[in-house]
Structure formats: structure tokens, C-alpha cells
């Protein structure tokens, strides 16, 4: 078994809501999330918009400070890193964003975009041009693109440039936050395959955030399902898809439109009906946060929060249908 490279325990991030004079409440964007990611694997994080995926990713990298909880990366307590150690972490743990348009500086050439962080981290390279060309080639671009500006590239090409910039720092862990959501399917397929290929080659560990369940299934070894700031289910991706345990996971999976008309006609009849939309993370429901919408709700669900329990090997769920109160 491989070692966890990243361990997240009881992570919380509350954003204050400021009134005229004082804080009047908190957006509980992430509210007690725990999981581990093993070296070289992809951990998928799914859930609907606003459930806290991005906040989880950014807090782990300390791009925003956690409100509470522990983050351990390669045995080091990330929340306490300072100075040289923080710089080391900044290099080893990277993030790639959804928007291929705002993530690259429009006034820099591709060469400058890739070299800037390399210089910042004091990485020695003999021949910068040669170095950048190699990186471009590894993401399917070439030396022709070296001195061009971002506006000359399509969305898919920009995501390749962003990827090349990450690779330059030789990271070990990369948060991919909806990296292909803005792209067309044919371009998405190319980028996803490339990410898998790079992972095989360099042993990268990914936290792959997406609301597209098909993409998460394709990319992930293990995955977690988030609802309103909480992880409700964690397990091997195959098991979560074949045998979803949490009512919310079942609902989410049954809502996916499948690209097969015959199957779609069948599945449509069995689709789970759940009313409404996720409530606000400002005053989340007590007990199980899914209880106001859950077709299986019991008394205890309204009062007490369900613990995360292991139902089959490595497959965890937080739901009173599986736990003893």
C-alpha cells in the first residue's frame, strides 16, 4: 500500500459575513472535512456548486487560511509552515484553475509565463529556452509558441500552458480545480489524457475537483462527495459509482444524463426524486445537513450529525442508515 502524502483532518473554513459594525455570521464553506490522499493517486472531489470544493482545495494549499483543522503534507504540519519551509511547500504543492482566460498574465509571453515562477523559486536551469521548449513539448505545444501571448491561444491551449508552468516547478501534489470545465468535450478529452499520462510519468498526486461526475469517474482512484461543507461519502471511485451508499450520492448519480438513449429511457423512470436545491451554508440544517431533502429521513437525522463509518473496505459514509446512534 502506498503512503498518504496528504492528510486532512477536521478542516474548517468559515468566511465572516460583515455587517455595518461587526461580524454578523459565518459562511460555513468547509465544516469539518477529513480525508487522505496516497502518493501517486488521484482523489476526486465532487458536489454541486457552492458545496465547498474550491475552498477545500485552496485551504489545503494555504492560499486561504483554515479556520480550524490539521493539514499534513509529507509529514509536515502545513498550518505551521514558515519561511524556507513554506517556500518548499509552495513549490511542491500547486494548483490549476478552471478559467483558462484569467489564469495567465496577458502581458507576458509563454516563455516569461513559464520562467517567472522558476526564477522565483531559484531553480537552476542551464538553457532556459531549451528548458521551456521541453516543457511545451510535454504538453503538446512546441517552440513556435515560445514568444506568443495568451490571447493568441484557444482555451485548451491556455490550459496546456498553465500545465507546463506547473510542471516547471516539479511539484508532487497538484490541485486541479475544474481544469476542463470551460473546454469543449473533444479538447477536454485531450487534456484529461495528458494529465493521466503526466501522472504516470512523474508520479504526481492529484486532488481533482469537478462537478462533472463522468470526468471524476474517468480520472479518480478514490473520491469524496461533498454536500454543504461536509464529506458525506468517501471511497474507491468504482465502488462509489457501483454501490453509492449515501442518499445524496444516489440522488447525484441518478441525476446524470447518460450518453446512451436506450439506457437513458430506462434510468429516467427510476430517477430518484428530490425536491429543492441545497440550502445556504450560512445556517446549515442541524443534524444531517441533507435531512430536509432526504426521502429516508428519521428522527435522529434532525438532531444528530451522522459519523463517517466504514461500510465496506475503504468505503465510508456519513448517514444514520448505516450508523448506530
Amino acid at each position: 500500500m502506498s503512503e498518504p502524502i496528504l492528510k486532512v483532518e477536521n478542516l474548517k473554513k468559515y468566511f465572516p459575513i460583515r455587517g455595518l459594525l461587526r461580524t454578523v455570521g459565518y459562511v460555513k464553506a468547509v465544516d469539518g472535512v477529513s480525508f487522505e490522499i496516497n502518493k501517486g493517486e488521484t482523489f476526486g472531489l465532487v458536489g454541486e456548486s457552492g458545496c465547498g470544493k474550491t475552498t477545500t482545495g485552496r485551504t489545503i494549499l494555504r492560499l486561504i487560511e483554515p479556520t480550524d483543522g490539521n493539514i499534513t503534507f509529507e509529514g509536515k504540519d502545513v498550518t505551521r509552515l514558515k519561511g524556507e519551509e513554506m517556500k518548499w511547500f509552495r513549490r511542491k504543492a500547486q494548483i490549476m484553475f478552471q478559467d483558462p482566460y484569467s489564469s495567465l498574465n496577458p502581458r507576458q509571453t509563454v516563455f516569461e509565463i513559464i520562467m517567472e515562477p522558476v526564477r522565483f523559486h531559484g531553480i537552476e536551469v542551464d538553457d532556459p529556452e531549451e528548458f521551456v521548449i521541453k516543457l511545451l513539448e510535454s504538453v503538446g505545444l512546441n517552440e513556435m509558441h515560445l514568444y506568443r501571448y495568451p490571447h493568441e491561444f484557444s482555451g485548451g491551449q491556455r490550459q496546456r500552458i498553465a500545465l507546463a508552468r506547473l510542471l516547471a516547478l516539479k511539484p508532487e501534489f497538484i490541485v486541479l480545480d475544474e481544469p476542463t470545465s470551460a473546454l469543449d468535450v473533444s479538447v477536454q478529452a485531450t487534456i484529461l489524457n495528458m494529465m493521466k499520462e503526466l501522472q504516470r510519468e512523474h508520479g504526481f498526486t492529484y486532488l481533482f475537483i469537478s462537478h462533472d461526475l463522468g470526468v471524476v469517474k474517468y480520472m479518480s482512484h478514490r473520491m469524496g462527495v461533498m454536500y454543504l461543507g461536509k464529506l458525506v461519502e468517501v471511497g474507491p471511485a468504482d465502488k462509489v459509482f457501483e454501490n453509492p451508499l449515501h442518499p445524496y450520492t444516489k440522488f447525484l448519480l441518478s441525476a446524470i444524463p447518460v450518453p446512451d438513449p436506450e439506457l437513458a429511457r430506462e434510468l429516467k423512470k427510476q430517477r430518484m426524486k428530490v425536491e429543492g436545491e441545497p440550502p445556504s451554508p450560512i445556517n446549515p440544517p442541524a443534524g444531517c445537513r441533507f435531512h430536509p431533502r432526504c426521502p429516508f429521513v428519521k428522527d435522529v437525522c434532525r438532531r444528530e450529525e451522522p459519523p463517517l463509518v466504514e461500510v465496506e473496505k475503504d468505503h465510508y459514509v456519513a448517514c444514520w442508515l448505516y450508523a448506530k446512534s
Partner: protein, 326 residues
């Protein structure tokens, strides 16, 4: 026999920009049958929205409809070419007999007016109700029809007081308020989460069954197509490359582009080792590739493909493809 409600022939739209003439859609032809859901699919910029907007002359400068016909079969059996109608005439049909739902619910609703006002307005403008008072009363029914809980109080809400899913329900409500014969929905669920999308698609199906509306659905999501459509037209770079029933398109795709597109979708129910990809990117439409516009990316390209534009050919009943392989 299916009866056509729209017959689109050689529809061509150009945009006259500084960079040059964007040939957004070129000789697009298809029929839409009464009561069906007809899907237009394809990737960004292939011309889905332009096609759907051109059907009722909804093309603004610098764009211009430079050719084609859109024969509309009216309820009384008469036909009319929508592209020949004067602005006042087409405005009577648009929003009433042929209504639109657009992708972004934020942009479709006016933040300054209550949702009740906006639904009532759609009916008042087309004389579906006799006055505003009746309009407001009917607005409550319409909110109920699109399954918004507590419609009596919701009717007084402003758009920002509603969630994304509820806003899209209101937009659909406005769309169906005049009981249109044709509803054109341009990416109606793209801005929504999958669970909300499922609710909205259910709602559209329900309304369609109840009112026998013909739906033209525009989407890039193959899952949504499989679930909703009776027939499908696949577009690439401003041209229709294949038309068929939903089963024909998914089970027996003929065009190399359709085949590639279907294999590039990560199906959540399948175990996929490696997704297939389509090399290259979509061409610019100022100087589109000669002959078949897909030829620079096509794995099966032949000599003739660069020279001659392939025409739509019927390969089995109802299944058309534009490709020199056939």
C-alpha cells in the same frame, strides 16, 4: 407520417467584422416535426445559437441572414416563410407561437421587476390576457405550472430572491406563458448543477407532454441529448454534418466527427481506459477549410475531401450524413 412544422432550407448567416466575414452558418437545412424534440448539438462556436436565432430573424448587426428559407406550417394549415416577414409580423410570432429560453437565467430576467410582472408582461404584449390584472393572476398559475412552491408569494419576488434553479423555472414559465407551438431552448440547463438540471429537464418533458409543444433543444451535452431528443442534428463549423433519430446517431454514428465526439465523452456508467480524442481545434470561420470543413482533423480524410463540399445524403430512412465516405 410525421408532419413538419418547420422546414429550414439553405439557411446562411454571415457576420461582417473588422477581421473579415465570419461565415457562421452555411446552407443549413433540416426539418422539425410537429410535437418532437429536435436537438442541435455541437461544440462551441459551431453555429447552434446563430441557427436557432436566425429562424425568427433574431440576428443583429453586424450579422445578416444572407440566404435561405424557413417555412413555418401554421395551425390553420397555411405556410409562411419566416425570413420574408416584416419586423412587425415576425414580432407577433416570436414570443407567442415560437418562444425562446436562453442559457443564462440572470441575463434573461430584469432585476428591477418582480417575476410576476415579467410573466404578465409576456402575455400582455401578445394580447393573451385582456389586461395586467388578469396577467398577474395568470402569472401565479404559471409559477405553479413550473413547480415553484408557494407561487402566491413567489410572484412578488425579485429575481435576486430566487435560486438559480428557480430563476430558470421562471424563464421557462415566461417561455410557455403564451402556449407557444415551438419552444426553442438554447442550453437551458448549462448554467445549472446536475440535480437541478434533472429537475428542469423533467419539467420541460412534462410541459411538452401536456401542451404538445414542439421543442428545439440546443446543447453541447451528449447526455442531455440522449435523454431528451427524438431526433438530432450534429453541427460542425457552421454546417450540419449528420441528422438522424437519437438512436441512429448514438448507435450508428456515420460521420467521423460524430463518431469522435461520442467517444470523447466520459460516460459515467462505463469503465473507460482511455478517452479518444479529436486532434486539432475547430477552424476559424473567416477562412474555413475548403471542401469538407472537418478535413484538417479527420482521421479518414481523402483527396476529394479538400476539394468538394459533401452534401447531406440519406443512408437509411431518416438518417442523413454529409461525408464523402458515403
Amino acid at each position: 407520417m410525421p408532419e413538419p412544422i418547420l422546414e429550414v432550407r439553405d439557411l446562411t448567416v454571415h457576420f461582417y467584422t473588422y477581421a473579415g466575414i465570419v461565415k457562421a452558418i452555411e446552407k443549413v437545412s433540416f426539418d422539425v416535426y410537429k410535437g418532437e424534440t429536435f436537438a442541435l448539438v455541437g461544440e462551441t462556436g459551431c453555429g447552434k445559437s446563430v441557427t436557432s436565432r436566425a429562424l425568427t430573424q433574431l440576428i443583429e448587426s453586424p450579422g445578416r441572414i444572407v440566404g435561405g428559407k424557413v417555412i413555418y406550417h401554421r395551425d390553420d394549415g397555411s405556410t409562411v416563410d419566416l425570413l420574408r416577414l416584416k419586423e412587425e409580423e415576425i414580432r407577433e410570432i416570436r414570443g407567442k407561437e415560437i418562444a425562446y429560453i436562453f442559457q443564462d437565467p440572470h441575463a434573461s430576467l430584469d432585476p428591477l421587476y418582480t417575476v410576476g410582472y415579467q410573466i404578465a408582461e409576456a402575455m400582455v404584449v401578445h394580447g393573451t390576457v385582456k389586461d395586467w390584472k388578469e396577467g398577474f393572476k395568470r402569472a401565479v398559475d404559471i409559477l405553479r405550472r413550473v413547480l415553484i412552491p408557494d407561487p402566491e408569494s413567489r410572484v412578488k419576488n425579485y429575481p435576486h430572491e430566487l435560486s438559480g434553479g428557480m430563476k430558470q423555472r421562471v424563464v421557462i414559465g415566461i417561455g410557455v406563458s403564451n402556449n407557444p407551438r415551438i419552444l426553442i431552448a438554447d442550453e437551458p440547463t448549462t448554467a445549472l448543477d446536475v440535480t437541478v438540471q434533472a429537475q428542469i429537464l423533467d419539467l420541460m418533458n412534462k410541459l411538452k407532454e401536456e401542451y404538445k409543444t414542439t421543442v428545439i433543444l440546443i446543447t453541447h451535452n451528449m447526455g442531455v441529448v440522449a435523454e431528451m431528443a427524438d431526433r438530432v442534428a450534429v453541427m460542425y463549423a457552421g454546417k450540419i454534418v449528420e441528422i438522424g433519430s437519437v438512436d441512429q446517431i448514438f448507435k450508428n454514428p456515420l460521420h467521423p466527427y460524430t463518431q469522435g465526439l461520442l467517444k470523447a465523452v466520459p460516460n459515467p456508467l462505463a469503465r473507460i481506459e482511455k478517452l479518444e480524442t479529436i486532434p486539432g481545434t475547430v477552424p476559424n470561420l473567416i477562412t474555413p477549410p475548403s471542401g469538407c470543413r472537418f478535413h484538417p482533423r479527420c482521421p479518414r480524410v481523402m483527396g476529394i475531401c479538400k476539394e468538394e463540399v459533401p452534401k447531406l445524403k440519406e443512408m437509411e430512412p431518416g438518417h442523413f450524413v454529409a461525408c464523402h465516405l458515403y
